[in-house]
């Protein structure tokens, strides 16, 4: 099946969790973020999907995956859909739900990371909420990152199957998302992560092994991978990296 990923141009954002799965799964897909406006891509393509009054199951926000006639939104829901189709999730119901549970926990974590630089409103600039961002980031670094990363480290340790992945014996979409979160944290908080990374050897290993995979490596080196920047979930503001 041919897929279309509908997402904002210029940032990785929550679309990146979907892109990594599409790339690792070898899916045939187009990405509106990379298609010029003159060829039907870019912001107008996203807006037209969101504002189409004839859609009977409308998405609230991107990322949206078009699969045939269906439009599927919410990054974790898209991965639930793609997991089985791309061979990136266990096949049994319990394994599927467990993988999804971890993905939802990553989504919660990503929300908290985002809100550390935007604690008051997404509609305001960072500079308009810098004081609150400093306070919130301190809690993120002191309490929340250790809680979430400590949890995922434990999940990997307790996975009784060989392979040192989060779920079962094989890489799943949740390993891809975890690697992306690690990469994002290292970009956003380099000082903090330099001194913390040793506490999470399993997660560091997942990060390294994911980005060394043939397809992901080729993707990360290609122009399809939008570099980290200060528009996405992970932003590097040195004053927040304590």
């Amino acid at each position: 099946m041919k897929y279309e990923l509908i997402y904002w141009p210029g940032l990785q954002g929550r679309g990146e969790f979907v892109r990594l799965a599409l790339e690792e799964g070898g899916a045939d897909y187009t990405d509106t973020a990379l298609v010029p406006e003159s060829d039907g891509g870019g912001i107008p393509a996203v807006m037209s999907v969101l504002s189409d009054a004839t859609t009977d199951r409308p998405p609230l926000a991107p990322p949206v995956l078009r699969a045939g006639k269906r439009l599927i939104a919410q990054s974790s829901n898209i991965l639930l859909f793609l997991g089985g189709r791309l061979g990136l999730a266990p096949r049994d119901e319990a394994g599927k739900l467990w993988t999804h549970q971890l993905q939802l926990t990553i989504a919660d974590f990503a929300n908290e990371i985002h809100d550390s630089h935007h604690p008051i409103a997404s509609s305001l600039y960072y500079e308009q909420q810098k004081g609150a961002a400093k306070r919130r980031s301190k809690h993120l670094l002191d309490e929340r990152i250790p809680k979430f990363l400590g949890y995922f480290e434990q999940v990997t340790v307790r996975n009784t199957q060989r392979g040192n992945w989060l779920v079962g014996a094989k890489l799943s979409y949740v390993d891809l998302s975890m690697a992306q979160v690690m990469a994002g944290l290292i970009f956003a908080f380099p000082k903090y992560m330099r001194r913390s990374l040793r506490d999470y050897p399993c997660l560091q290993s997942i990060h390294d092994r994911v980005f060394a995979r043939r397809r992901i490596k080729a993707y990360a080196r290609s122009r399809r991978r939008i570099p980290f920047n200060d528009y996405g979930i992970f932003r590097h503001y040195p004053e927040l990296d304590q």
Copy 2:
């Protein structure tokens, strides 16, 4: 099957989305929040599930549903699991994912509502972040509530099947959660909701019809329903209700 809901005592919180489904579905369940500590319930019961080092698929946080030997966490994931079993979701894959997508959007909305009174950190008291809470709440009321409620109103309008529910022709777990969000907003922001409610006639109707259902009505009147209070997602601080 007999279920056990593992959740903190004293607040509705995210456990309430699960409770409403268990109640409407006529499930046989116990709720640790209602079991005295001396009988194995309460906070120690939650802590023992979270800290059990022998669990190979550990949950990060409640709510957790015990179903036989399985522990399932993340409220939306629990509802995905329960939906089919309790007759509260469509049976076809597309309908299941669509219902889940709406539930994930409700979960995002609930997070934003929660963070309006706790924009800096959950670990701080409201009084320690009151200034930021006032700023964030203004954005919640001016931008975010209209965006989310306007969206769900549209979803109901565009549902081509009779019944005036969010999904298909029958009540689903997402209607229960939507009714809970409406009740919570009316509790937290009575002034604001008094002037806004007329914009969302479908959602008001879902709220009224859900709480008039035989099982939900009996539940809401029972001691099993913890009243709204200032410990949960929805809190009434008059200074935030502008």
